[in-house]
């Protein structure tokens, strides 16, 4: 996909994030990731809990410092000085998972949305640039963009007076008020009622189409990716194991983990579900060789042995997937087939 390769807006280069949690080995939450997100793209970062996707997202936002590698935004590596980080925040914003917890219960909707504007003194900045506006107008604009109309009706409400969907829109409005270029959405609809998920997802699509917003969605829900994502990166135990366009990855998965994930999404289609045994191992004890090999159904069924790569699966670590180059999977079977 040329969108990503030509001029990525946000990149992770050789990114690794390790936590020292007191055990014998550090927790390798992110263990070598190359990812490029192009302007105007919606990329889904998909994986189960413990795979490191949330840590990766937070590191891309600058809320976490990488142990190795760098985060590059618009061609320049992230500087962690407080002034530079603050400027970065105007361009990259976050939507959290739980809209109820994300809003200060003592603040009105107006105050929650205006918070970002006040921190960055946006009104003064705009006036200096010759744009005559007030805080109230900017707040109303953001609320309207997030689908809360008429915005004036919501100014005086408190979070607990709104429904789940409305709260999530307030959180989105708070992020939009800063007019960011990229939005990171961490499980944006997982705590919302089923019938309103579509509305919030449609809002994200509209923001991309109308405002040119780039979106990185972190989720465990493959259906969500099918709904709105251009490209998908599948994560397992701190590494991206497969990347490509949504159609490529979801309709022609190459990595056994992706194949297993897809097979168990509740379907009526006649796909034999591959229910993996056990659970995702501890990120402080990552298996040797291919990190997925202890649970890999292809290895267990002898497919790897047939292809002659079984030894590599168990003993040889895979190289980190590059951020460019179309549909790829980090699997000895796939590399062997030259896919």
């Amino acid at each position: 996909m040329s969108v990503a390769t030509s001029n990525p807006l946000l990149e992770a280069r050789g990114l690794a994030v390790r936590f020292h949690a007191g055990g014998r080995f550090p927790v390798r939450a992110v263990d070598g990731v190359e990812l490029a997100i192009g302007k105007g793209e919606i990329v889904a970062l998909v994986g189960e809990s413990g795979c490191g996707k949330t840590t990766l997202a937070r590191t891309l936002l600058g809320l976490e410092r990488p142990s190795d590698g760098s985060v590059v935004f618009d061609g320049a590596p992230l500087s962690y000085r407080s002034r530079d980080l603050r400027r970065y925040r105007r361009r990259v914003q976050l939507i959290l998972q739980d809209p109820t917890g994300a809003l200060n219960p003592r603040q009105t909707v107006y105050e929650s949305v205006a918070e970002g504007l006040r921190i960055h003194r946006t009104v003064a900045r705009k006036q200096r640039a010759g744009v005559d506006t007030t805080e109230g107008e900017l707040v109303a604009e953001a609320l309207a963009k997030a689908g809360l109309r008429p915005p004036g009706n919501f100014f005086m409400s408190y979070a607990h007076e709104l429904s789940g969907g409305q709260r999530q829109r307030v959180v989105i409005a708070g992020a939009l008020a800063l007019e960011p270029e990229l939005l990171v959405a961490d499980e944006p609809v997982s705590s919302l009622d089923a019938s309103i998920r579509g509305e919030i997802l449609a809002l994200l699509l509209r923001l991309r189409d109308d405002l040119g917003l780039t979106v990185l969605v972190v989720t465990h829900d493959l259906g969500l990716a099918w709904n709105i994502a251009d490209r998908i990166a599948v994560m397992y135990l701190g590494r991206i194991v497969e990347v490509g366009t949504t159609e490529q990855v979801l309709q022609g998965p190459q990595h056994p983990y992706t194949q297993a994930l897809l097979s168990v999404v509740p379907e009526i289609e006649e796909v034999e579900p591959v229910v993996l045994v056990g659970e995702t191992p501890d990120p402080s004890l990552i298996p040797n060789g291919c990190r997925f090999h202890p649970r890999c159904q292809a290895l267990a069924a002898g497919v790897a042995a047939e292809a002659g790569v079984a030894d590599s699966c168990v003993g040889e670590p895979l190289v980190v997937l590059a951020s460019t180059g179309g549909h790829r999977a980090a699997c000895w079977l796939c590399l062997d087939n030259g896919a």
Binding site: L61, L63, S82, L85, R86, R89, R90, Q93, L94, L96, Q97, D98, G101, A102, L103, N104, P105, R106, T108, Y110, E111, A114, E115, G116, I119, H120, T134, E135, G136, E137, A140, E141, A144, P150, P151, G152, F155, M156, H160, V171, G174, A175, L178
Partner: protein, 301 residues
């Protein structure tokens, strides 16, 4: 897209007024709290109106008109002390001092305690640890020896007594506030504030402090109770201002003048009863406030 007819600040002010009215209505429902408030108002009015109903000259030893330790009579409703002064006059003027020192000490304690508590809960790394250790260190210092030492070093005056009490009681508040801060720091809206670009000051003042305030408020009233009790103790031990009259100094005088053996109950019992009543009133109010603010937190949480 219309801007609201009221400005945002007016709306917030109106909301705060409504919330205060709601809290008052809740408070009225707590009988014990209302009783406590009644008692407190009685004493505050008595103290403030001291120049009105108790002649200040009645405090001067040289102008004492009564006999020594006279029992209560029509002229001296609560009898006289060992200098011939009216005990009632002393009591009323003593209320001023006890309440004033109690409140001043509490103010000092709450300010230091809140600052240290919020800071030690918010800052990770060495800054937070240092503040925490400081709090713990102050906590274990035995209060009375420290108070005695400080009082003798600083000299006995109203302000110094308040300072001594403040310095020795802030750690309790700080620990409570720190615990509350730690739990608020975990809430997602703090993470959102950071993601929006908020610095430490903004996080602490706009998010942590407002959510910690209810607990601070309830804790304050209980701290006042302790402060007044402490002042009484210090004055009783003779560490208070010798020129001023407080309930504690009255008790001290009563003991040293042998009121027990002579049976001068009018000198001994009233100051003690007053201290008990005032402390009780603050405690009742404080408990009622805690009950009011807690379900609120549960509702919003």
């Amino acid at each position: 897209m219309t801007t609201p007819r009221l400005t945002a600040r007016q709306v917030v002010r109106r909301r705060r007024r409504d919330s205060a009215a709601r809290n008052w209505a809740d408070f009225r429902g707590h009988k014990s709290g209302v009783i406590g408030l009644g008692i407190l108002i009685f004493f505050v009015v008595a103290a403030l109106g001291a120049p009105v109903w108790a002649d200040a000259s009645g405090l001067k030893v040289t102008e004492a008109t009564g006999g020594v330790l006279e029992s209560p009579s029509f002229e001296f409703l609560l009898g006289t002390d060992d200098n011939g002064r009216s005990v009632l006059t002393l009591l009323i003027w003593g209320a001023r001092l006890s309440l004033f020192v109690g409140l001043l000490a509490t103010a000092i304690s709450m300010v230091i305690g809140t600052l240290v508590g919020v800071a030690s809960g918010h800052f990770k790394g060495w800054a937070g640890s240092v503040l925490f250790r400081l709090t713990e260190w102050f906590l274990v210092i035995p209060f009375l020896p420290l108070a005695i030492v400080l009082a003798s070093v600083l000299g006995a005056s109203l302000f110094n007594i308040a300072l001594v009490i403040g310095i020795t009681s802030w750690p309790g508040t700080a620990l409570l506030i720190r615990a509350q801060t730690l739990s608020i720091e975990e809430r997602p809206f703090l993470e959102r504030a950071r993601a929006l670009g908020a610095g430490h000051w903004h996080q602490m003042t706009r998010h942590v402090l407002p959510n910690v305030m209810p607990m601070v408020f309830a804790n304050t009233t209980l701290t006042v109770a302790i402060a007044i009790l402490t002042e009484t103790t210090l004055s009783f031990l003779g560490l208070g201002d010798p020129l001023r009259v407080s309930w504690g100094s009255m008790l001290d005088d009563a003991f040293s003048s042998g009121a027990i053996t002579t049976g001068a109950w009018w000198f001994l019992i009233p100051p003690g009863v007053c201290v008990i009543l005032v402390v009780l009133s603050f405690t009742l109010i404080g408990r009622a406030l805690e009950e009011i603010f807690n379900p609120r937190l549960r509702e919003r949480g």
